[in-house]
Amino acid sequence: MTTALIAQKLDARGLNCPMPIVKTAIAIKSLTAGDLLEVLATDPGAVKDFAAWSKSTGNEVVEQSADQGVYRFVIRRK
C-alpha cells in the first residue's frame, strides 16, 4: 500500500460515467508531477475507462483493486 504517500483523495463513488474520469482529470491538474491521487469509484465502466485514460494521457495507474463493487485506483501524475 502506498497510502502514506497519497497527495490527494477523490471519492467518485455513486457518480455515473464519465464523471469519475472527468473529476480525476480535474483533480490531477492540481497535483505536481510524481504526486499520487487515490480515486474510489463504483461506475462499472471504471476499470476500462481508467486504463484508457491512463494510456492516452500518460498518467500511470500504479495500484488498482476492487472490493464489493468499489474500485480503488492510485494514479501517478505524469
Binding site: 455515473n16 460515467c17 464519465p18 464523471m19 472527468v22 480525476t24 482529470a25 492516452s56
Partner: protein, 137 residues
Amino acid sequence: MDEPLNLVLFSGTDDKLQAAAVLTAGAAALGRPVHVFLQYWALDAFRADRIGRDHGLAPEAGPEGRKAVDDLRAAGQASWAETMRTAKELGDVDIEACSLSMDLLHLEPSDLDPLVDGVEGVTAFFLNAEKGQVVFI
C-alpha cells in the same frame, strides 16, 4: 490524441443532449479538443431561458425509458448542461450556434446560455473540424 471530436447536435431532447454531454466530457478528459455545433432543436435547448427546462425524451424512450432516466437523475446524475459546463472547465470545448438555425429560431447571441461561445456557419465548423470525426446526434 489531439484530433478534435466534432459533434453536430440537432436533437433537443434531454436524452440525446445527455449522450452528447457524456461524449464531450469524455473527450475533454482525454485532452481532445471538442467542437460542438448546435442546430435546430438542440440550439433551442441552449436558450438561456429554456436550458434548465424538461426537454422531453426521444419517442423510443416510452414510459419505461422515462422512468429509467428519472431514476438516474434522482440518484444524482448531473444534467447535460452541468456536464457540458464541467467539460468546459476541464478542457478545450468550443460550443458554436449554427447561424442558419439562429435565423430559423429568430435568436440573438444574447438569447443563448453562456455555455455557447459564439455563432458560426457550417464552413467554419468544417474548417475547425480538421481531420477529426464528425458525429451527428
